[in-house]
Symmetry: C2
Subunit: 501 residues, 2 copies
């Protein structure tokens, strides 16, 4: 008798060796997070039979831990954007997404999403997800009210602002308090059940089933410690998340992320990526992650400046907190301070949680410099240079926008200690399986693998550069890419096209 | 009839589908570079039958383009090190290699090599490779004489010098002129033929042959446009190099390397890595590469300082040229200058080749600053700060060693233009298949794949961090890891242990 230990994430099970099929379905989805939910709903909507296998006893995935923001724009603006006075042209949205994707941005995925984001928001609303028609102009991490539209990226900051007309694009689901993502995911999960997806909890995907040509025909799942064999006529959709919780994988592929001591994930053990690789799928962009320390709000803190342990400034501080944090990781050493004066300083909403404390306080910048044991004329020279230009409304080196520029010259002064090995830096991974916009998984030679799809952080989608990440990009990508993959797998089942061997 | 097009780097060929075996051998080696040569020699030395398949019509690989340095130390020092007065303790060599490997250094591989590097040098000598007993103290890229021992890393530079007692460890083969690596590779190739390895040129590996459990039994090679089937009883040793010449792969895995316009490679199209992945092998560390612009020699240039387009300094300039170049890539923008005064400036030996020219010249640093259109008090303030401390023999920010410190205060001054999109930055990749020190290829779950080995840049070995790379590390790793893999595959053939299905 075969046992679960006979199967491996690293080697697929050959179709000819499957003893029996315990389940037959059109589309098999692995993972009940944002991507898996949307893949299942969309596939089911075409009339396909859909089974969803989830390793835990519940739904939600990492998206349930999020603030529930979805990055949406273009098409002249959503209802919320237009009401708030923002006409968001598709080309500006597109340009921002391309910049946000960094040197390896996926032009085809960006094009598809830029053209369809508004319709995607409508689709989420049709699933029962509510969005208030309201706007918060201040800098927030996520709205703690039930309000919707917020700024969640570096849209107004250089160099993004120079290439794409800025608009707020974080559309937050209508729920008060932290982690509104739980409401988003509960709503999508209810919809999954309502449309008749056959959900199996406590079911761990342990191997793919492939034929001799490499086409995927189903998977092996472990339920009650027994291997169960699933035939999926249209294919398997991998939506099992990233790999931030698998520290060995992080070390091998994205060692810089080990400096974050606060991984954001639920399962996210890389098993979905590994399943895809076992069938010849290529994993790409594996070194990239989202990293952040929540150094604002309040927005007044953005008027301060960051310096590294050489006393050098290194970023326009009006960027998104995650972009700033990525630049922090690039600095030599681990000591980083956020400098504030009496007028700009206010206790950070999340500073206590994030272990950002006061590293030095004094009546002059020279005093702060000495207290931090920096050589003379380093930090103090940096502040003097900044102040001289800020008083003229200029930042010649880093191009911080005028509204955030003010000389830091009103004592007392403070240096907030944002040390990487002390403050709480959160992270998740942005590398995953290479896919087409349809969700079809690609080999390293960019050939599509028949019957295999991936979405969300199991794949590599819109967000793929820590320095370009913006809140809401990952959930936008998970929900949208999940839908594409679910639809494509259902189509394959309908056309019987996946199997040619 | 089967045709080459029926086979794919992305999917292995099932053993049960092999129509016939055209060749039977104990060990099949793919690639006739440094790793493949040593794998073949070592396997053959145990009495195994060995076939070597090379896609080009000749031998040498990227190693033949190199300076022929091999990074060797420990054990109290080689003959050359001891003669030159350096007692190189194994623990210092080990510490340096661990630091050089960066955050994802492979402790097991470093340990094995640190303990056996001297014996490895003896082995190379036994193959006919000559090394003179001589030492060059000056900073060079590679010796243009037939001399041997040179400094090829950051051994004397902070932070390396603080953790490992420095010694020169670049052992260069005895050959005058540039690219002595050609002599090294010709010598090893002659040895390959002499010991009776069956070498097939113009033979492209196009697929691995695996059984239903994933064990590797051989490979498919294309010869005269026909697929030829090779059974390798002990296994296949992949030594087909890195992927720097495959610009699509570079874009997906190591986009930062696209900024180098001068890839160093011969074939290096990633096909060997892809073959390994097709059998479930994990590729790791794919974002890392070696990058360099040859800004010295002469060594006097090391007394200058680098500044970025903000006028900031960013590195102790006494580091290895490649480490400095990696830090250059991390700087914002692409404008980089090397500042020199009348006493330190000398035409760089390779500046013309590398397109490093004079960006500005003047009688004061303020004049240079204006000429480069930098804001007032940026570059000039950086030089003033540096000079103030250099005159006291100190570099409080970057810890450049005292011997290289001198105030840059003798006009005229020059700013050498090292722009990334203008000067010649060379590169090769440091990511590849994950392997044990024996060369056994590992899955993402770190299970060894029976019958599959990899070495050199086809694998991920000792050099795996651009900021730690030192000349000679890659050839040391290629030749040493090739030997381990060849020996292990031969042992598997002898013991018949690779095949259990």
């Amino acid at each position: 008798m075969t046992r679960p230990a006979d199967y491996s994430l690293s080697h697929p099970c050959l179709l000819s060796r499957v003893p029996r099929f315990d389940f037959e379905t059109d589309v098999a989805v692995v993972g009940f997070g944002a991507a898996g939910s949307c893949a299942a709903i969309e596939a089911r909507g075409t009339g396909a039979r859909v089974m969803l296998f989830e390793v835990t006893s519940g739904s939600g995935g990492a998206a349930a831990l999020s603030g529930g923001e979805i990055y949406v724009g273009g098409g002249g603006g959503s209802l919320q954007q237009r009401t708030a006075g923002f006409e968001d042209r598709t080309e500006d949205f597109h340009s921002y997404l391309m910049m946000a994707g960094g040197p390896n941005a996926d032009a085809a995925k960006v094009r598809l999403y830029a053209d369809n984001a508004l319709a995607h928001l409508d689709w989420l609303i049709a699933q029962g997800v509510e969005f208030k028609n309201s706007y918060i102009a201040e800098r927030v991490m996520e709205p703690l009210t039930d309000d919707c539209l917020v700024w969640t990226g570096s849209e107004e900051a250089w160099p993004f602002s120079a290439q794409a007309r800025p608009a707020p694009r974080g559309h937050t689901v209508r729920r008060e308090g932290w982690s509104a993502g739980k409401y988003l995911m509960d709503t999508l999960a209810a919809r999954v059940h309502a449309v008749g997806v056959d959900v199996r909890f406590d079911a761990r995907a342990i191997a793919l089933v492939v034929d001799e040509r490499g086409a995927v025909h189903g998977l092996v799942v472990r339920i009650d410690n027994e291997p169960r064999f699933v035939r999926a006529r249209g294919g398997v959709v991998l939506c099992a998340g990233g790999f931030i919780m698998n520290r060995d994988m992080v070390k091998r592929h994205a060692p810089a992320l080990l400096r974050s001591d606060h991984p954001i994930g639920t399962v996210d053990d890389g098993s979905g990526i590994r399943l895809g690789m076992s069938a010849g799928g290529a994993s790409i962009n594996m070194m990239e992650g989202f990293v952040t320390v929540p150094w604002y709000p309040p927005g007044s803190l953005v008027k301060g400046i960051f310096v590294n342990e050489l006393g050098q400034r290194f970023i326009n501080e009006d960027c998104y907190h995650g972009r700033v944090s990525q630049f922090i990781l690039d600095q030599p050493g681990n000591r980083i301070w956020l400098l504030q004066d009496h007028e700009t300083y206010a206790p950070g909403l999340l500073h206590e949680t994030a272990r950002i404390g006061i590293g030095a306080a004094g009546e002059s910048w020279e005093e702060i410099e000495r207290e931090l044991q920096l050589p003379e004329d380093t930090l103090s020279a940096t502040v003097a240079f900044y102040n001289r230009h800020a008083s003229r409304g200029e930042d010649p080196l880093f191009h911080k926008a005028k509204k955030w520029l003010k000389p830091l010259d009103k004592p007392p002064f403070v240096a907030l200690d944002c040390r990487v090995d002390h403050a709480q830096y959160s992270s998740f991974t942005l590398g995953g399986l290479d896919t087409l916009p349809t969700g079809e998984v690609l080999t390293e030679g960019r050939e599509a693998i028949a019957g295999l799809y991936a979405a969300g952080r199991n794949a590599c989608g819109l967000p793929r550069w820590g320095k370009g990440y913006s809140s809401g990009l990952s959930i936008a990508d998970c929900t949208f890419s999940g839908r594409q993959a679910g639809r494509q797998a259902a189509r394959a089942a309908r056309e019987g096209s996946a199997r040619t061997s």
